[in-house]
Amino acid sequence: MQPVASSTDAVLSKLVLEHVSKWFQTSSLHVQALDDVTLRIAEGEFVCLVGPSGCGKSTLLNLIAGLDRADRGTVQADGQTISGPGPHRLMMFQEAALFPWLTVLGNVLFGLKLVKGLSASERREKAEYFLELVGLKRFMHSNVYELSGGMRQRVALARSLAPNPSVLLMDEPFGALDALTREQLYGDIQRIWSQHRKTIVFVTHNVREAVCLGDRVILFSPNPGRIREEFSIPLPRPRDINSVDLARYSTEITRVLKGYVQNEVAG
């Protein structure tokens, strides 16, 4: 369990962030959210970003999604600088950002309708396929308010997967769910990832969750957001969040993380 210095070959990198810094200006404050972040993520890799709140993890996702611009440094996908949002990099949010005026099916179709060159029947077919994949096909004509929190996030997952993005950006997607529902979703997401091999960048403040899902866990410290350490998690899949091996990794990472947070408070 050694911290990894340089993880992946530059040639194979799906996402490349180099010396990225980002500031936020409010009326009274000038906050640096990210400071000189350099990160390479390989095609098909599952990377978890972990850190306390305010460490710029979500900001980083927004930069990769193209919803925001870096003030310094470059953010590239497939060797091209990211200039805006695109269907190849889809974001899944903390809260289910489902549209309540659409049915479950309508929500999954929303992103598909923005993909060019699909016929209506192809869209419908894809939408149904991904709803089946998350186990909600029989709820396809339901309204959003009729679903539980876990079901909503499953629909959100289907909606993000349907336009076939190569990169999936997940911003604490299971944060608001109860433990049991979360465990089910860990299983689902690992199964889907191993079937479809998306590149996934997953933001969380739950170390165990990160170890359960990620090939790599990247530790951030706050004020300003910096990468502190990387851990590769060579455990076999599918992983069970309650396994002892997994607990060993998460205990170690939590210990390191606490060190940074305490230094931060002391300093």
């Binding site: 999604a65 919803l67 949002p85 695109g86 269907p87 990099r89 889809l90 974001m91 949010f93 809260e95 950002a97 549209f99 309540p100 005026w101 929303f110 992103g111 923005l114 993909v115 309204n143 959003v144 308010y145 909606r159 336009p163």
Partner: protein, 256 residues
């Protein structure tokens, strides 16, 4: 449900009972406080000879035209003020200011500009509705959770598509609340206009009320007031409330 109806019916029965008691006690002259039965007799005769129907029809027609115009102008302006800083600083401030002006205050101006005409009446209704509708629409669009448009942008939606497919539907419950408020304002403005603008092209409920005063026919005054209240209540309960409940439930914006 039945219990709630019973409570409501009992409450209004008690009110009428109190009214009847006050009449029986003869504290006020029957000219100033007619009995519930005489008001009912007036309403019955007005229904029978058709005056009440005609007046209601005329009033509702004016209301629909004025309210329709108000929405037609107000909704787009409200959407505009919510989307651009410059329009917020100009039209938004104008609307905020004029919204505070009670609609009766438009009557003198309308009379001088349009005379005793149908246009004067419509002008007062539109002015009474428009500004509050702009403010309500503006507030509605601003209340939309930003996560919706972020999610849409992430999926490749932008500009006009985001507007028609995300912002407008997301704002729907708030737009309806604004329209409901606009309706209440339109109703008030029209009554003010009908009481002050006396024209021969149509005899509305406000006129009926006004002539009740001229003739010192208190049963007519109270009777027409009751009709005005009933119409307002009926529109709210049967048209706006069910749609509003449905939207807030489905959109997950229900309060309380």
């Amino acid at each position: 449900m039945i219990a709630r109806w019973a409570v409501a019916s009992l409450f209004f029965a008690c009110l009428i009972g109190l009214w009847q008691l006050a009449v029986k006690a003869q504290i006020w002259s029957p000219l100033l406080l007619p009995s519930p039965s005489s008001v009912f007799i007036y309403l019955w005769s007005a229904v029978e000879d058709g005056t009440l129907w005609e007046a209601t029809l005329v009033t509702v027609q004016r209301l629909l035209i004025g309210y329709g115009l108000g929405i037609f102008i107000g909704l787009p302006l409200g959407l505009l003020t919510a989307s651009f800083r410059w329009s917020q600083d100009t039209i938004g401030v104008l609307a905020l200011g004029l919204q505070t002006l009670p609609s009766v205050c438009w009557v003198p101006l309308a009379l001088l500009w349009f005379g005793q005409t149908e246009s004067a009446m419509l002008f007062v209704v539109v002015m009474g509705t428009l500004w509050s509708l702009i403010i309500a629409t503006d507030t509605g669009v601003r209340t939309i959770p930003p996560i919706y448009s972020r999610a849409a942008r992430s999926m490749g939606s932008s500009g006009f598509h985001t507007w028609t497919h995300v912002i407008l539907p997301a704002a729907l419950p708030f737009l309806l609340s604004g329209m409901k408020q606009g309706w209440a304002f339109a109703w008030r403005s029209l009554m003010a206009a009908e009481i002050y603008v006396t024209i021969l092209t149509g005899f509305g409920l406000g006129h009926l009320l006004h002539y009740g005063r001229e003739l010192s026919a208190m049963d007519q005054v109270i009777g027409v007031m009751l009709v005005i209240v009933m119409i307002g209540l009926a529109v709210d309960k049967t048209l706006f409330a069910p749609v509003e409940r449905f939207l807030h439930r489905r959109w997950g914006t229900a309060r309380g």
